[in-house]
Point group: C2
Chain length 255, copies 2
């Protein structure tokens, strides 16, 4: 299996602290050592950093940990390969463009019987069940809507599609187009919303504490979503199996 | 205007030496300081590094310069913004997926009258003429072929499309799908094919010399393509206006 990390905020925020804990699980405090990746949205732009080296020792992970990229939507993934060999093509997150926006997707779980890809528009480059599902999902969206629909419509379809996928196996996933971040829980996802008054947080995976009040304003809202809580002195909310949340401007909502 | 750098080889090779010279032109030896990017193909996988900081000082460029990523197809770009503001969404190279392969594109030049985008499949995320042309190009390919055609057919269409674009302005571009690298010259592109017996090369933009014979075997073929020659003690071949070359396994051919 793998682990997921996501962040959604109302002001561009760096993810250095959370990423430092998360990346230790890729070969140090945990065994997810078959590559890792992280995608940052900055306005409409998006950059992905990918490596098939374990995140605990990857020089690119070292850069990401030390280079504060300010973003409102981030998705990261550390991999323990189950379907598909260890390679760059199989490294999450995956990215495609739809309706003139980038879409980024990462998945934790196993799907033995993924839905058939009957379209021609989105095709997997690697051979993971995860990228396959991402392509299927975008193909369905592209089929239903020629252009960006109203959000209520979009989220309703997303809920249908997530429910369909969830019937086929374990599908914890995160999806973002830079405007919001969707998190779907099959078995295990936790989140926390940090807001004023901000306090101190201490990592589970490394003895590091940060005082968020030094880096934030009263108005900041920062949601962090992770397979397992990243800090040991804060209260994380477990998501329920089958639950889909849309995080926007740092707050979760039920679509 | 901007500058382009490409590499195509018959064995995975790192681009650290060439990139060190090239990236100096982004804010140090030259004025292309409005962001930069580089895309590496590794088998079917592909990773892009992008930054809107000048490549001469970008921490990501520093990483790329020191982290020897072995690749058979690389495309890099340093930007001097003409169309579209300085932003991540406008930073080359651009990437899309077609027929289950990633495609990477970078452009140097100006096109006042880009062809109309009449399809729905590929849409620009940013607002450069370059990404617009890339989308148009992929849309045409997707329209003509449902799946990968025979290469002769593909290259013939590519030649048509490049000629069409070239009538509309200055279109120096590089395009790769990881199997080969296409370079089209409107005004300025040079290339060199390095092969045995390998010798020493000295950068134009930094006083660094490398002895390629220490890093290569007798069978290696490495083509480097750049807007302006990167070394001052080797003979680079200028491409002719209107010329399209396909580099494959380290050698150029006329499609």
């Amino acid at each position: 299996m793998c682990q997921l990390l996501g962040m959604n905020c109302n002001v561009p925020t760096d993810i250095c602290f959370s990423f430092e804990g998360f990346r230790r699980r890729g070969g140090d405090t945990d065994h997810h050592r078959d590559g890792w990746g992280i995608g940052f949205f900055e306005d409409r732009g998006c950059r992905l950093f990918l490596d098939y080296q374990p995140s605990a020792i990857s020089p690119i992970a070292e850069l990401v940990r030390n280079y504060p990229i300010k973003s409102t939507n981030v998705i990261a993934h550390i991999r323990k390969a189950t379907v598909g060999e260890v390679s760059l093509a199989n490294t999450h997150p995956f990215r495609r463009e739809l309706w003139g926006r980038y879409w980024v997707f990462a998945h934790n779980g196993d799907v033995k019987d993924p839905p058939r890809l009957d379209g021609h528009r989105f095709r997997p480059v690697g051979n993971t069940d995860s990228e396959h599902m991402f392509c299927w999902l975008l193909e369905r969206l592209a089929e239903r809507f020629v252009d960006f629909p109203a959000e209520a419509e979009l989220f309703a379809v997303l809920r249908e599609l997530a429910a369909d996928l969830a019937q086929r196996g374990v599908v914890n996933f995160m999806l973002s187009n830079g405007q919001w971040l969707a998190a779907h829980c099959s078995t295990r996802l936790h989140y926390i919303v940090r807001q004023a008054p901000f306090g101190c947080a201490h990592l589970v995976d490394n003895d590091i504490t940060v005082d968020f009040s030094e880096y934030t304003t009263q108005r900041d809202l920062v949601s962090v979503i992770a397979t397992q809580p990243l800090t040991d002195n804060e209260v994380w909310t477990p998501m329920a199996p089958g639950e889909l949340l849309i995080f926007r401007d740092g707050m979760p909502m039920r679509p």
